[in-house]
């Protein structure tokens, strides 16, 4: 089923409900509105504010596979933190891995698809990200 919005919502809800992720992003005790501003469903980072830690989840372009009824879809999760907090960014990725790898999301299993170390972000910030892939029936 082609329901990318629902996939992102389910993952966003998993992160929002996880105490470890909220703690690592300094979101413990914050309102839902504040949490939704920092765990976002797009890759935007050019508006990062001072001391902000942000988790971005978004789709990467699908990859065709030999069976035309399926595509390999890829979700990327990037964590942006102030440059001095890079340790927390990797801890967030470790927690994301524990929550998503080989777990069923909308009846499809997600598999770790690699990480790349440091990724581009605003000056004064640090970003790292990892990807999770799954096969989607069209």
């Amino acid at each position: 089923m082609f329901n990318p919005s629902s996939d992102l919502t389910v993952i966003q809800n998993i992160f929002k409900a996880d105490a470890t992720i909220l703690n690592l992003l300094n979101l413990t005790g914050k309102t839902q509105a504040e949490i939704l501003k920092r765990i976002i469903r797009k890759s935007t980072w050019s508006d990062l504010a001072t001391n902000e830690r942000r988790l971005c989840l978004f789709f990467r372009p699908s990859r065709p596979i030999s069976n035309k009824k399926f595509t390999e879809d890829v979700i990327e999760i990037d964590c942006h933190v102030p440059a001095s907090d890079e340790f927390y960014a990797y801890q967030v990725l470790e927690r994301v891995h524990a929550l998503l790898n080989e777990k069923q999301i909308n009846n499809r299993y997600l598999y770790f698809d690699g990480q790349l170390g440091e990724l581009p972000t605003m000056s004064g910030f640090f970003c790292c990200g990892s990807r999770y892939a799954f096969n989607r029936k069209i």
Binding site: S43, S46, P61, P64, G114, L116, P120, S123, R131
Partner: protein
């Protein structure tokens, strides 16, 4: 009774399959790079290059114009000074001689000049040497996206290898075996 293998036909067909795989990888690379761009102009200026065979090596690249370069390396005072082509650009006639080491975009001296797109323009000189970046001016700087570099890094991170492996694994080698039972 004999078994024959048509090696030449097999090699030719495998080559065609590999070109197809390279074409798909090129499309994926382009899509990844476009998605990472911070400006629509940067994304639009990226294109697939023609697949070429240079002395038996299949080459599939993506190309971009000035917008893509500015998106990749940033503009204004936020530009990435590690850009290997920056020094050449600064030494060229395209660079505004009134821009200083802080790289802020400044007004040009009065007279005709060629902009980064190669177009002839004329400056009145009213803002010569003054910062024209937002909020002092209308020029909005942005940080480097490094979209093309990052897309290539993701693709190198196992994707290229996986696609070529799939192509070889799914290749019908058996079609080129000819069994003669006489």
């Amino acid at each position: 009774m004999s078994i024959r293998f048509d090696g030449q036909a097999c090699a030719d067909f495998l080559y065609l399959n590999l070109v197809g795989a390279m074409k798909q990888l090129q499309r994926e690379l382009l899509a990844e790079a476009k998605q990472g761009m911070l400006t629509p102009e940067g994304a639009e200026s990226l294109l697939e290059d023609e697949i070429r065979d240079i002395a038996g090596i299949i080459v599939a690249g993506i190309i971009g114009g000035a917008w893509a370069v500015m998106d990749e390396f940033g503009i204004g005072h936020m530009l990435d000074t590690s850009n290997p082509a920056l020094q050449n650009y600064k030494n060229s006639a395209l660079w505004n001689p009134l821009r200083q080491d802080d790289n802020y975009v400044r007004g040009r001296p009065a007279g005709a000049y060629t902009d980064i797109f190669g177009e002839q323009r004329t400056s009145t000189g009213k803002m010569a040497g003054r910062i024209i970046e937002y909020p002092q001016g209308r020029f909005v700087p942005h940080p480097p996206s490094h979209a093309m570099q990052t897309a290539m890094r993701w693709m190198q991170n196992g994707r290229f290898k996986k696609k070529i492996q799939e192509t070889v694994q799914n290749f019908p080698f058996g079609k080129f075996l000819i069994c003669d039972t006489k």
